[in-house]
Symmetry: C2
Subunit: 374 residues, 2 copies
């Protein structure tokens, strides 16, 4: 689809009757109403936009104008930025707002923001009247991940993402212009998941990332559009086969077994999710090599994360016992067996349940010895 002089990339997340498109292009935000109309969103029922207080000041007005100019009735709710907003009490506040705004069964909730807003707004949409329409306008690179697959959730004080649903959006609109305001650390964090999608599925895309990392870090729209398109495509391919996490979807956890444990033991704000899984993916590559993958799996993995500026080494002060015990509590343990995603080549992984804890422990120790990438 070509829109003026800008290319709009489009891909479909193929989930039978729940299939939906993702549009990626520059300046799409101001055209949101046209996309809603194209998707048959009626003007008789109110819409509600949910955003956070970093994103709203930058982009909410543009979105609201697009909608009201087209004749939609719009309510907005702005939550504090940050993971703490993915709570049941924020969820309740938003349900109250939805009731006050008169949302009915034909209403649509629009998420404008990163993964936090997407997960939170998506769960509100999943629960309100047992499920109303949902549209995602992700404004972070990381949200390319959360916008595919329909996983929505809030956190419980004792466990992340434990209260949620599978609720697929009607469509996803990625406006590359909104990504220009992302702080570098958020850019890198999102790139970690982009690279992950290459590592599990597509060697040539890993090579492309390796060669184009400078452009990605500079938020070059053409490079970014392509990377988001590829990242979403891989995730879409995986979830199309396994919508409800029966099997294949486990490969998306590459680097996350160690990564989640690092997040659990790290001090507040010490590691972003992307940083934690970058270290986790280096760890997985080490495990892979120990189990027979070629040494180049480790080398390429380390190089691409190194170029992105993500950490490739675990800071020495992290306690290995604490990391191992956090791993044991992770929800990926089903009936006592651990699911571990091991690379066998660049672009190929296998899910194994026989990886010894001792091997993982050894790897965690080794991650502290890693030389910095330069």
């Amino acid at each position: 689809m070509v829109d003026g002089t800008n290319v709009v990339r489009e891909l479909t997340v193929d989930l039978g009757e729940r299939s939906y498109p993702i549009y990626i292009g520059e300046g799409l935000l101001q055209e949101t109403s046209a996309y809603l109309e194209q998707h048959g969103v009626s003007k008789k029922s109110s819409l509600m936009i949910i955003s956070d207080d970093n994103t709203a000041p930058l982009y909410l007005d543009t979105l609201v104008s697009s909608l009201t100019n087209a004749g939609y009735t719009v309510a907005s709710a702005v939550v504090p930025a940050g993971e703490a907003s993915k709570s049941l009490s924020m969820f309740e506040n938003l349900i109250t707002k939805a009731l006050e705004a008169g949302l009915d069964r034909k209403s649509t909730i629009i998420a404008l923001g990163g993964g936090v807003v997407g997960d939170l707004a998506g769960y509100v949409a999943a629960a309100y009247m047992r499920g109303i329409r949902f549209v995602q306008i992700p404004t972070t690179i990381l949200a390319h991940d959360s916008s595919v697959g329909g996983k929505v959730a809030v956190n419980h004080p004792h466990a992340k993402n434990i209260i949620g649903a599978f609720h697929q959006p009607a469509f996803v609109l990625f406006d590359l212009k909104t990504l220009q305001s992302l702080p570098l650390r958020q850019v890198q964090c999102g790139l970690a998941e982009v690279i992950k999608h290459g590592l599990i599925w597509d060697e040539s895309f890993v090579d492309w990332c390796d060669e184009n990392m400078d452009k990605l870090l500079a938020l070059d729209p053409e490079a970014l559009g392509y990377a988001l398109y590829k990242g979403c495509s891989v995730k879409a391919a995986v979830v199309s086969v396994d919508e409800r996490e029966g099997g294949l979807r486990a490969i998306l956890n590459l680097g996350h077994t160690i990564g989640h444990a690092l997040e659990a033991v790290a001090g507040y704000g010490e590691l972003t999710h992307g940083e934690a899984i970058a270290i986790g993916m280096i760890g997985s590559a080490l495990v892979g090599v120990k189990l027979g993958a070629p040494q180049s799996v480790y080398e390429v993995t380390k190089r691409v994360f190194g170029k992105s500026g993500l950490p490739t080494r675990l800071p020495a002060h992290f306690d290995t016992d604490a990391i191992m015990s956090a791993m044991m509590h992770d929800k990926k343990f089903t009936e006592g067996s651990i699911v571990y995603v091991v690379p066998t080549a660049i672009g190929r992984v296998e899910v194994r349940s026989d990886v010894a804890a001792s091997l993982v422990r050894e790897t965690v120790e080794q991650l502290k010895q890693e030389a910095d990438w330069q």
Copy 2:
């Protein structure tokens, strides 16, 4: 299926890959573990029973014994009886309990109680880790209705059932023995929905209710088993065609447009749901006759509710304006048009959106003038 000397009635709620059976018979509670085994519920993951403080003292021990004797690990949570437990804060407590009990993705939540426990426990099961297995053991007659169709929810202070999901159980187990302890008012309340299922779908079943009302009120197991079987069958037939409330499912709202409005304006505890919809169904019959249905629709409707001891007249102190305005706020209004279910014959209804508010107002007034049934 025959079990010892007792007949176990079985029917299937046909929802494709989400299809599930309902078992109805005497003494099934103590055999719950056998049903779980038959449905492949693993003993490696913990179960959690959710019940209320009326039902738990009567039946929880029997259920727990059945499960632990068979080798299941079981946690229990007991909530205060009553609609107030269908709240987001009770939901949060139960999620915490589930986490503490170590429930994982392969765990099962069992609802032991009436519709309140079923809706609440079902929503916990729908949300926990984005959905785990759910089994219903309904202990009220009314819960024959709530156990078919997968609608689960909690209430918001401003709206009933507004926070929820569609989450189908793995199976439903109706032990007729547990119904023997039901107070008469609860029996009548449940029969209102049983009769409703006849009125919308099956004239001969309405005749059967008319003839067997004494047995039903006396909780005769054979009559009760048949009535629950028929009631569930009608509801199952409707939801099989329309799982997510796109169309046909609206006929299940017979009597509920007026009924919900009466509940909204009634003083606390003045009307049960069954009493409110019984009056509502008399009202719908009156509307039906005004719109051309034979007078007998009204007569039969009134007789069968009269025999059951449910009210057939609206107490005079109810304010018609308040009722009409409550009706306007009901969530069945979609894009401004009202959905009203009108009988055209006994066992047949149509969903109309052209019923004038003035006709409904006139009917509400008329309901206050009704002669008592004797």
